[in-house]
Symmetry: C2
Subunit: 318 residues, 2 copies
C-alpha cells in the first residue's frame, strides 16, 4: 500500500556498532520491551537504564580521570601549602612519582581526595572541574578528557532515550565531578547522575546560601553500593544496566535477576570488555583499574552481553 | 484577526484558587520565567520545583501520617513481640496512650521508627505501606489518608508541569514511605522524591537480589538538610519551592536568595499557612507539628508568598 511505499528504511540508531550478535541483542531487547503486544512490554515509567561511567562511557587508563584531576589540583594548590613538599602523598605527587603515590595506599588516596574535593563550596568545586576539563589533556592521547568518550555508547544512550528510557549514570566516581559535564557530554542531566559523595552541609554565609562539601565520606557508589545508590536516588530497579568491571557486578545482578518467583520483568545486563589495545586499551582480570573478573565469569550464566570493543565497535571516540 | 477570534479564553489552570494576590503572584511568576522574551526567562532544564509534603501537599494533624502508620504497625507486629507489653514506648502505643508515647521523648520515637521501618526489605516495606494506605482511615475525618491531599496544590503542581517544570517532593518524612503513593497520588514519580532515609544495604539472599533497610539513620531531610538533600539528588538549585513550616526555611532560602552578585536567577518561595480551623486545621507558631514561626517572620522581607488556606482556597480536599 501507499503507507508502506512511503516508509523508507529507518535510520540505523547504532551506526558505530558493527553488525553482529551484540548489536542484534540490544535491538531485540529494546524492541521487545517497547512493543505493546509483547508479553515483555514495559511501561514507559519503568524504563530505567543505568550506565557506569569510568571505562563504560569514557576511558579510564592509566588512572581514573578524576584521579588525574586530583593530581593537577594538588599541583595547583601546592604554592599555598608549603608543608606538602615534605608530606606524603603530596610530596610524591609534586615529584610526579605516581608509583610513590600508589605505594602509600588507601589512607594516602583518601588524603588526596579530601585535600582536593573537600572544604570547598559546591559551586567552587564545579568551577574548578569545569576549568580543568576545558584545558587538561590526557597524558597519552593528548585529547581533552571529554573527547575520550565512547561513540557507540553515546548512540546506545540516545537509542534508549528515543525509546522513552530514562538514562542514568551510576558511577563509582564523585557525583559532583560527573555532574559538571554529564549534561553537555552525555545529555544526562545532573539529577540523573548517581555517584560517590562526601558529606555536605548547608549554611548561610554572610547572608548567602551555601552548600559546603565537608571532609567526611558520605557514600561509596561502587560494588554493593551501586544498587543502594540506585534504590536511594531512583527508587525503582533498572531494566537495563551497563558496566565494565567487577564494581558493576551487583548493579547487573539487581537489574537482571528476578526479585521473587512472580517477578517477570525483563532485564538486560551489558559489560564493555576492553579488548582493543590499538585504538584504546586492552585489560580485564589483572588490571589495577577496572578489574573485570567475577562479572566476566558470571556473564554467560546470567545472560549478560559482553561487548568486545575491538570486534563490536567500528569507532571508539567521536 | 481570525487567529484572535479563534482563541477562546484559556482554561483556568488553578480553579480551586480564589482570585486574589496569591493566585496572581503564582501565575505572574510562571509566565515570566517561561516567556522567552522576558529577562527572567529560565530554560526548561533549570525549571526545578520542590514541594514539602506534610502540611504542604496533605494534612499533618494530629500527627504526621507516617507516625500514624508506625503506631498501626506496632499494633500489627505486637503479637510476635510479647516484650512490648511492658517496654516503652511500645507499652504506651498498645494502650493507645499517645501522650505517654510523646512523653518518652526522641529516643523513644527513634525506637518506634526502627521497630517499624528497619530490618525489612525495601519491597516488604513498600507492600506494608501500600496495604496500610488502602485501608487505614484518619482518626478524625474518617477519610483515607490519600484523600486528605490539597486540591489547590495538585493544581499548582500540574500547572508547573504543564509549563515544563520538573516537580519534586522534598520531605522530612521517609523517602521510602512517600514513594509508595507519590506517583498515584501526586503524579510525582519515585525518582523525584527526596526524603529522610535509613541506611540500606544490598545482599544476594538465596540468590535473590535484596535491598535491606537497616536500623541506622542515614539522612534527615529537614531544615538545613533540605538544601543538602536537593543538592545530592537534583544537583541544581530549584527556582520554585513550597513548604509550610520552619523545616522549610532553608529550602526557601536556597531557592530564592542569590548565591552571588552575578546570580540573577528568579526564585519563588511559597508557604502554606494553615488558617482554616473549619475545613482543615488552624495552627502555626505554637503547634508541635508543622511549627511555623521563623519562616513566617522572614516571609515579607524575603518576598515569600504566604498562602492563606481559608481565604485563598475555594476547596481543600479533592
Ligand atoms: Ca567502571
Ligand atoms: Ca511540612
Amino acid at each position: 500500500g501507499s503507507a508502506l511505499a512511503q516508509s523508507a528504511t529507518p535510520m540505523d540508531p547504532l551506526p558505530s556498532w558493527n553488525e553482529g550478535k551484540s548489536k542484534a541483542a540490544i535491538v531485540e531487547f529494546v524492541e521487545r520491551v517497547t512493543d505493546q503486544s509483547s508479553p515483555d512490554f514495559v511501561p514507559v515509567a519503568e524504563r530505567i537504564a543505568t550506565f557506569d561511567n569510568d571505562g563504560t562511557l569514557w576511558s579510564e587508563q592509566p588512572l581514573y580521570f578524576q584521579g588525574l584531576y586530583a593530581l593537577d589540583r594538588v599541583r595547583k594548590l601546592a604554592p599555598d601549602q608549603p608543608e606538602w613538599s615534605n608530606t606524603e602523598p603530596f610530596q610524591s605527587v609534586l615529584k610526579g612519582d605516581l608509583k610513590g603515590v600508589m605505594a602509600t595506599g588507601m589512607p594516602a588516596i583518601e588524603k588526596l581526595i579530601f585535600a582536593t574535593h573537600a572544604d570547598i563550596s559546591g559551586e567552587e568545586f564545579q568551577t574548578s572541574v569545569r576549568d580543568w576539563l576545558a584545558t587538561a589533556k590526557h597524558p597519552q592521547t593528548g585529547l581533552p578528557f571529554t573527547k575520550m568518550i565512547f561513540q557507540p555508547m553515546l548512540e546506545l544512550m540516545a537509542y534508549l532515550r528515543a525509546n522513552d528510557f530514562k538514562v542514568y549514570i551510576v558511577t563509582g566516581g564523585g557525583i559532583d565531578f560527573v555532574r559538571v559535564f554529564s549534561e553537555g557530554t552525555y545529555e544526562v542531566p545532573p539529577e540523573q547522575v548517581v555517584g560517590s559523595s562526601l558529606d555536605a552541609k548547608f549554611e548561610m554565609t554572610n547572608g548567602i546560601p551555601t552548600i559546603l562539601k565537608t571532609g567526611k565520606l558520605d557514600f561509596i557508589d561502587d560494588k554493593a553500593g551501586k544498587p543502594v545508590g540506585i534504590y536511594r536516588h531512583i527508587g525503582r530497579r533498572p531494566i537495563f544496566a551497563a558496566g565494565n568491571s567487577d564494581g558493576d557486578l551487583q548493579m547487573l545482578q539487581y537489574t537482571t535477576i528476578p526479585s521473587d518467583a512472580k517477578d517477570n520483568k525483563p532485564g538486560f545486563g551489558l559489560l564493555v570488555h576492553h579488548t582493543d589495545a590499538r585504538r584504546e586499551w586492552a585489560y580485564d582480570r589483572d588490571s589495577h583499574i577496572g578489574k573485570l573478573e567475577k562479572a566476566l565469569d558470571d556473564a554467560p550464566q546470567q545472560g549478560w552481553l559482553i561487548v568486545d570493543m575491538k570486534d563490536d565497535w567500528s569507532k571508539i571516540y567521536p
